[in-house]
Amino acid sequence: MFDRVFTKSGDDFKKLLKLLSVFIGLGFICYLFQYYRGLGITGMSRDVSWGLYIAQFTFLVGVAASAVMVVLPYYLHNFKAFGRITILGEFLAIAAVSMCLLFIIVDLGMPHRLFNVLRYPTPNSILFWDMVVLNGYLLLNILIGWNVLDAERMGVAPPKWVKPLIYVSIPWAVSIHTVTAFLYAGLPGRHFWLTAIMAARFLASAFSSGPALLILLALFIKKRTKFDPGEEAIQALAKIVTYALIISVFFVLLELFTAYYSQVPGHTNHFNYLLFGLHGHAELVPWTWLSNILAVVALALLINPNTRKQEKTLKIACFATFFSLWIEKGITLVITGFIPNTFETITRYIPTIPEVFITLGVWSAGFFILAVLYKIAVSIKEELGA
């Protein structure tokens, strides 16, 4: 089916791939630099030992997990309208998990020893389980997506063994984000992360940011190709985004209540740093407020049925949702866990230019994978006259 990428693609698509390749190339050059000089070229430090890479990974696990939001209603509740876009969800998951794995690899001090995780399996480490569930999820989505699409192309039912895999993939999707939340939620002495609703927060934000991106992609495809994912599907997704975002914001408010009503310094310090700045350090304050404002805008547009139903305002709402949550997971959540540090002092973290380019490179690689997969899916759907 890959031949379609070459035979069916127009000039714009080729341009897109070229542009992404340029960014991948730049990222790769920066990565080579990092490979030869060490992670010292990043802005990370003894005190803030995880930065942009791990934060992106954390956000993207959510995007990957969100595929379940189309798979579940379609296969478990027989919600027909999603039939046209499940493949888009599954392929988005493949691209997102690939990015996750790449982000983990670029973050390792000893990338060539990666397989030590398999050679010395350590069940007490959450990172071990994260690796297991992420790779399993990638495999599941490749198998399911590819076979279902191939069957569709041939006009036959997908092979029998795919069905059980689909059912497995539903709890599996939940597990990838839960386990990723456990990476943080189980650490002693990191008060910002040490909260039992971390996994719930992760899932809620994932189920709004992922489908928001899916809506944007579906609208883009609708505009640029002959394949229409369907108004009903998009509107159903929009409702999912709405409720998930409400729950996500609610969960954050719960955290704020616990922190500020209890006034336990270990809890309030980090939120103070995020919202108002601490000891004269306020690097993340603008980001936090931008995220908050975007969330409010998104909520206003999504809750109001009129704006939710209009494509134009829905688009804005989805952009706002996606960026609001990207800031929350992809910037503030991970970094703030380290600020203030274990000595209650503050070490700043500012990503360096190569670090940013490597990050962009991985994102571009993900979008490259996504573009290619979507091209295949869409060209088949177009052919079937859908």
Binding site: R46, S49, L108, G109, Y120, T342, F343
Partner: protein, 264 residues
């Protein structure tokens, strides 16, 4: 004989810690001591044995020494012995260092704490916790705990994920962000240099205990402010002193059960 054994021990130790596992296998194969489980060697006759190694820091004594003039003897001894590079910024590497009361015991300090106590200094190092979070989170067992409680690092297995750094509530771990060789002026050829990309920390001088010596910092302290011993042994100096004087441990509330005690 003794000399021979010492050399052998040194070589095996250096190999296990230093070069790679392969030479270690070769050496032991030559000595016909290879077993299925890997190389074995006889312990040094004078090796120190303990069940729960611990360190007691007599803050008063340390302070008095400091009043005579800034003292960094323990830090220098440890860092030069273990080839710990001196990197002058937030990418630093430290196995043992000094800080004040507030940073060492966050939340415990208040304005009425005696002035000189406030200043410390407090000697900080890995606590070799009885319930170490770093060991729990490490995905490769590169961080592991020995039967005698020492929390060890296998620099050849570490993948540099830095999860242990997020896990340790005491900031006891350092990552080699850069090539440490660039920041070393003097080398100790008896101890391996780490590469960039791995995490490292204090090991209670396991290599010295194996030869019957006390940790380098303990030996180097002019004020005898650092006391090392086996908590499991009721007759040990550490037990005696802990039963006589009031002591603090860092961040007890997080449950890792640190084994470094501060006499106040």
């Amino acid at each position: 004989m003794d000399e021979k054994r010492r050399n052998f021990l040194k070589i095996t130790g250096a190999c296990v810690l230093g070069v790679s596992l392969l030479p270690a296998l070769k050496v032991s194969a030559a000595k016909k001591v290879t077993e299925e489980k890997g190389p074995t060697y006889k312990a040094h006759p004078k090796a120190l044995h303990g069940k729960r190694w611990a360190m007691v820091v007599d803050v008063k004594r340390c302070q008095e020494q400091n009043k005579k003039g800034e003292c960094r003897k323990c830090i220098e001894a440890c860092h030069s012995l273990h080839n710990v590079p001196t990197i002058p910024n937030e990418k630093e590497i430290k196995w043992i260092w000094k800080d004040n009361f507030e940073h060492s015991f966050p939340g415990t300090a208040h304005e009425y704490v005696p002035e000189d106590f406030h200043e410390g200094p407090f000697i900080l190092l890995c606590n070799h916790c009885s319930n170490p979070a770093c060991v729990r989170v490490c995905p490769t067992k590169a961080t592991f705990q020995r039967a005698d409680g020492i929390v060890m690092m296998d620099h050849h297995r570490c993948i540099g994920c830095r999860y242990c750094m997020a896990g340790c509530p005491f900031g006891a771990r350092s990552f080699n962000w850069r090539d440490p060789k660039l920041y070393l002026t003097q080398l100790n050829y008896d101890y391996p240099i780490r590469r960039r990309g791995v995490v490292e920390k204090c090991t209670f001088c396991d290599e010295r205990l194996g030869e019957g010596l006390l940790p380098a910092c303990v030996e180097a302290c002019p004020a005898k402010a650092l006391i090392f011993g086996d908590l499991d042994d009721p007759s040990s100096e550490v037990r005696r002193i802990l039963s006589k004087r009031l002591s603090l441990r860092r961040k007890l509330e997080v449950g890792t059960q640190p084994n470094v005690y501060y006499l106040v």
